[in-house]
């Protein structure tokens, strides 16, 4: 299990990276944390002609507060984000979720941006970013564009990124005070890719649910928002009966992969079981 040969570049300037990505003659992959890419290369499931190592780009490992959002740079590692006081204060759901994402040594190298670009349908952060309404800043040689997390994920290992583009920053808006959140997942072992992850945020205004956002991963070829269930939830009372009803509707609506030994029915069951727990946790955190 040794990788195929590749050309290696390690620019210290973002423009140089973008220029290399613009050279579409050579099949190029960005090497950030490498925690998903390198295993695939070792199995020879991936064999890029050229690796552009971005680890030496200056000033991309930031986690900083800006006007109403927190910006996380392309080289911020999972471990740093997990430990970040800023993230813990504004997005406790992220800190909680990180307990379930891989293990310390992997989090020490892996980056949030790399994880999002990898777009594993079982990965947690694509769901979190959608619930948190993140905006992704995408750069290429000719300029930058912004994509919402909801629009970013296209399918299994597939995003809207063009081959000459790089995700340079994630911007997560700071939620309104009083926003409650919930996170649940089921995996074979803690730290494994999840069979089903359910996340939600909501507020409760005068006894009624407001601004609910729900996202799930593991139950389709990409993480998705549950728009229809959010609509039902908006304005409803935060009761377990409502949550159960929403969960039943959500489980019926999704179309999970039916792979041997982890059936579509099972993933639907997980969504059905986890969603009420997530919603009631979110509601109770509003109260707190």
């Amino acid at each position: 299990m040794k990788p195929s040969a590749f050309d290696y570049e390690c620019p210290t300037d973002l423009n140089a990276v973008l220029a290399m990505l613009g050279d579409t003659e050579t099949e190029t992959s960005i090497l950030a944390g490498g925690q998903s890419l390198v295993p695939m290369m070792n199995y020879r499931l991936a064999a890029p002609e050229r690796l552009v190592d971005i680890n030496r780009l200056p000033d991309l490992d930031y986690i900083r507060e800006d006007a109403g959002f927190v910006a996380i740079g392309a080289l911020a590692r999972h471990g740093e984000i997990k430990a970040s006081e800023l993230v813990g204060r504004h997005f406790p759901m992220m800190s909680e979720a990180y307990d379930w994402i891989a293990h310390a040594a992997v989090r020490n190298r892996g980056t949030l941006c790399g994880n999002l670009c990898h777009a594993d349908p079982a990965s947690e952060m694509p769901a979190l970013m959608q619930v948190l309404d993140a905006t992704l800043v995408v750069a290429k040689a000719t300029g930058t564009r912004e994509v919402t997390a909801q629009d970013f994920f296209v399918g299994t290992y597939e995003t809207v990124l063009e081959s000459d583009e790089m995700l340079t920053e994630v911007r997560i808006p700071i939620p309104e005070a009083g926003t409650g959140w919930g996170f649940e997942e089921v995996a074979m072992r803690k730290g494994d890719y999840a069979w089903c992850t359910v996340v939600a945020t909501l507020r409760v205004v005068e006894g009624r649910i407001a601004a609910p956002r729900i996202a799930v991963s593991g139950v389709g070829d990409a993480a998705i928002r549950l728009g229809a269930q959010e609509e039902t939830l908006a304005g409803a009372e935060p009761t377990s009966a409502v949550f159960e009803e929403i969960a039943a509707a959500a489980a019926a609506a999704v179309n999970p992969p039916n792979v041997e030994h982890i059936s579509a029915d099972y993933r639907r069951d997980l969504l059905r079981s986890l969603l009420p727990r997530v919603l009631s946790a979110a509601a109770s955190r509003v109260a707190a």
Binding site: M1, R189, Y193, W195, E260, S263, Y266, L270, L274
Partner: protein, 826 residues
């Protein structure tokens, strides 16, 4: 009354060192002697070893489960710079014959496939290159044209397959490689007379040990002497030259096999002969030393060490008062594409198939089914882990159907402490035991009564909490008739009956005791236990003992760590060596003290005059004098210089199988007993199982080192937890192995282990082994699956869920719950 067992006579005990209180070193948790070098990175594993001019091998592996090889084009691979050679099965066959087999008649297997492949991952060509990276590049350039054949995946379907679906059409007309039936005692009569017959269909799925280190070899061929030097991590290297010499076309003496510290085995490295033959053949073909270390993918798909994969139709005959009368079953075992050890895993299970219970007769039909999967090999339990689970499942089923308390039913049928040695229907004996004491200890440690109350209350609150108890046997000190006793008696094969262990010891002139072991270390603690036993027997200071490992040419008889045999067997060799060495020490020492040998004794590293304080000579002084001052002693060969000896210890208690297989003889008689009790909570919505509390009590006879034994129990329990809850190899309907990686084959991490694990020991010494030592290397995996399964079933008793198949992963368990919910909803 005449019995089928009358001819099976228990030989007298050969025990020399009686179990006793007040031992100095045996029973102490000394720190392991092996550890400092390992802790500092100097363990010396196979991949740490290199020789000048060494090249590296990589394999071209079959992507198909079953296919004819139409053609292989190696030209592009050979042209790659850095490549030394590319070899097909035909090329290898020019220097190497097929692999050895314990199946009789054998199922032919070659180290590189010839003509066709029979499972995904089977090697079709090998590359030898300057480094492993280039070798893998070249492997990608080998082009194979295939004719795909039907893949046999399902065990029952494969048993009925014909035509192109036959795996070995040249040798067998069926994919059933062996189909034998046995009746041990009056099975028919007992079933006919029984009040109830409990029936279950039980399924145990395939997994494997997956030690963190894979198998590896560094092989050199000497064209002038015509022999091989082979470094490897096999645990069986003193037997291997004899077994593989035929394949390598050399006499056993022309091979020097050098063991390396193995990074875990759990059975998976017991022989590992195929990789040795493969690498040796490549070294000969390439004309350079070759290193081949399996990568993880190869270890999953081609290491010939997959575990049991069985389908049972089992019946337990029970009287209405709950007395067990007889047990019988038909078992189909999916052995994969070959049958290297015959049905040895079923032979093994015959050692304790009726569990700790008085069951008068036992019958079995065993069918070894070949499929397009990697073949089976040993994994901790070697088949007995499955029959333990079967027995306990049948007892729980009986309790359920008879409306009895499962624990009371166990206690009612348990062999009583005064019944030992106890012969079970298959002819094996249980040398000793006190199962009631083990159970009592476990109940108390776990607070079983308290937990049962608690669980009931929690269930009343709607939680799915349950408690499971398993009382299981742990046979130890294996005898090799298990490999062949179930073969057809017309073609028994190689009827091996020896499983010796040996040791060589000598004092150097400085008084250090140099010990040479003839078996390797695989993660067990051979140096530590030998230190403790020799220190005990010779009163030598542990820090004065120095260890070496022999190779196959310098070494002597040894079978190595497997079948929970090593500690008990090496103890025997240590005692034999100590008796010989003591005699010499006393002879030389007495002469130096001007006394008669019968007037001196060994005392704190001295030969000392009995009853006198200051009349003594240290072992160092005696060693020095006996080594360098020959003229200080009388003439005569009894005073030949130096203090050394080699000693062999044979199996302490075994007999031949009956010729007509009315019984199988005594072959695995040193039995331990284990009781595991676990409380679990099931999340019915997700199928996740959480262990709330866990207690295990093991009786392994006299304990040499409590802490290293505890390590074995803990580790085995972790394996058993994985087997029960998360580990399974998945082959899809095309025979593709879909989870050959550590991300998807889910071995427990620290997070998956129980938080409140309590471990206890009862010591019922063996009357047959030195000091009463029993083996204890497999018990955790022999007990955990039964206890956990019972606990889960208990937790879901309100749902009516029955568990008849392992593992019960969350998707499987949720599926069972869903079915039960749908059934309840009508």
């Amino acid at each position: 009354m005449k019995s089928h067992l009358d001819t099976n006579v228990i030989p007298p005990s050969r025990q020399r060192e009686a179990p006793r209180a007040g031992l100095t070193w045996i029973g102490q948790s000394i720190k392991r002697v092996e550890d400092p070098r390992i802790l500092t990175g100097n363990g010396g594993y196979i991949d740490d070893f290199k020789v000048p001019g060494m090249a590296h091998a990589a394999m071209v592996s079959s992507p198909h489960a079953h296919a004819r090889i139409v053609s292989i084009d190696t030209s592009r691979a050979k042209a790659l710079p850095g490549v030394i050679g590319v070899y097909t099965g035909e090329d290898l066959a020019s220097v190497v014959d097929p692999c050895p087999s314990f199946a009789s008649p054998p199922i032919p297997q070659t180290a590189i496939a010839v003509g066709k492949v029979r499972h995904v991952g089977e090697v079709v060509a090998a590359v030898v290159a300057e480094d492993r990276y280039i070798a893998e590049d070249a492997a990608e350039l080998v082009e194979v044209e295939w004719e795909v054949l039907p893949a046999n995946v399902d065990i029952e379907a494969s048993a009925a397959a014909t035509g192109d679906a036959l795996l070995h059409p040249d040798d067998r007309e069926s994919n059933v490689a062996l189909d034998e039936s046995f009746n041990f005692g009056p099975v028919e009569e007992d079933f006919a007379a029984a009040d109830h017959i409990i029936k279950r269909r039980l399924r145990w799925h395939r997994s494997s040990a997956q030690a963190i280190e894979t198998c590896g070899v560094v092989a050199q061929f000497d064209p002038y002497k015509g022999g091989y030097t082979i470094h490897c991590n096999s645990n069986f290297y003193n037997f291997i030259p004899f077994v593989i010499g035929g394949s390598l076309r050399v006499s056993p003496g022309e091979m020097r096999i050098v063991p390396k510290l193995a990074g875990g085995s759990f059975g998976s490295k017991v022989f590992s002969h195929k990789i040795i033959i493969l690498t040796a053949g490549l070294a000969r073909l390439a004309g350079v030393p070759v290193k081949y270390i399996e990568d993880r993918l190869e270890h999953f798909t081609n290491s010939d060490s997959h575990g049991s994969d069985r389908l049972y139709d089992a019946e337990l005959a029970v009287d209405k008062d709950g007395t067990f009368k007889s047990l019988r079953f038909t078992v189909l075992d999916d052995y994969g594409a070959y049958l290297q050890f015959g049905v040895g895993t079923h032979g093994n299970a015959m050692a304790q198939v009726t569990g700790p219970y008085t069951i008068g007769s036992f019958g079995m039909r065993v069918k070894a089914v070949l499929t397009n999967k990697c073949q089976q090999g040993p994994y901790r339990g070697f088949g007995s882990e499955v029959t333990n689970w079967l027995m306990e499942r049948m007892v729980d089923a009986a309790a359920n159907e008879l409306g009895q308390d499962p624990l009371a039913l166990r206690e009612q049928n348990m062999i009583k402490p005064d019944a030992f040695p106890y012969m079970i229907p298959t002819g094996n004996i249980y040398d000793s035991g006190n199962f009631q004491k083990v159970l009592a200890e476990a109940k108390q440690m776990f607070d079983l009564d308290g937990w049962r109350e608690k669980a009931k209350k929690m269930r009343a609150e709607g939680r799915c909490v349950g408690v499971g108890v398993a009382t299981c046997m742990e046979r130890s000190v294996y005898g090799p008739t298990e490999w062949w006793s179930l073969n057809n008696k017309e073609t028994p094969g190689f009827t091996l009956t020896s499983t010796p262990e040996s040791i060589s010891v000598h004092f150097d002139p400085s008084g250090k005791l140099f010990v040479t072991l003839h078996s390797p270390m695989v993660g067990n603690s051979p140096e530590t236990v030998v230190t403790q036993i020799l220190a005990e027997r010779l009163t030598v200071a542990p820090e004065d003992i120095v260890f070496n490992y022999s190779d196959s040419q310098s070494g002597f008889n040894g079978v190595g760590p497997q079948g929970s045999r090593f500690t008990a067997m090496i103890a025997g060799a240590c005692v034999s060596a100590s008796i010989k060495l003591e005699e010499r020490l006393k002879r030389f020492g007495a002469h130096m003290l001007q006394r008669r040998p019968e007037d001196v004794e060994l005392r704190n590293g001295m030969v000392a005059v009995k009853g006198l304080k200051d009349q003594e000579k240290s072992f160092g002084e005696i060693a020095l004098t006996s080594s360098f001052f020959r003229l200080s002693f009388p003439d005569g060969e009894e005073f030949d210089s130096g203090l050394e000896t080699t000693a062999v210890y044979d199996h302490p208690l075994s007999t031949d199988p009956d010729e007509d297989r009315k019984h199988l003889g005594i072959f695995y008689p040193i039995v331990g007993h284990i009781c595991h009790i676990v409380a679990v909570e099931v999340d019915p919505g997700t199928g996740k199982v959480e262990m709330l509390d866990y207690a295990a009590v093991h009786d392994n006879g006299t304990i040499v080192n409590p802490r290293t034994l505890a390590g074995q129990v803990w580790g085995g329990t972790a394996n058993g937890i994985g087997t029960t809850l998360s580990e399974q190899f998945h082959y899809n309907s095309d025979g593709q192995f879909t989870n050959p990686n550590f991300a998807e084959f889910a071995m427990p991490t620290a997070n998956e282990m129980p938080r409140n694990f309590k471990l206890g020991h009862v010591e019922t010494p063996s009357p047959f082994t030195e000091y009463g030592i029993k083996g204890g290397g497999e018990g955790g995996r022999l007990g955990a699956p039964s206890a956990l399964t019972s606990a889960i079933e208990d937790a879901l008793s309100d749902h009516g869920v029955k568990i008849t198949s392992l593992p019960v992963t969350p998707p499987v368990l949720r599926g069972l719950i869903r079915d039960a919910e749908q059934m309840a909803a009508g």
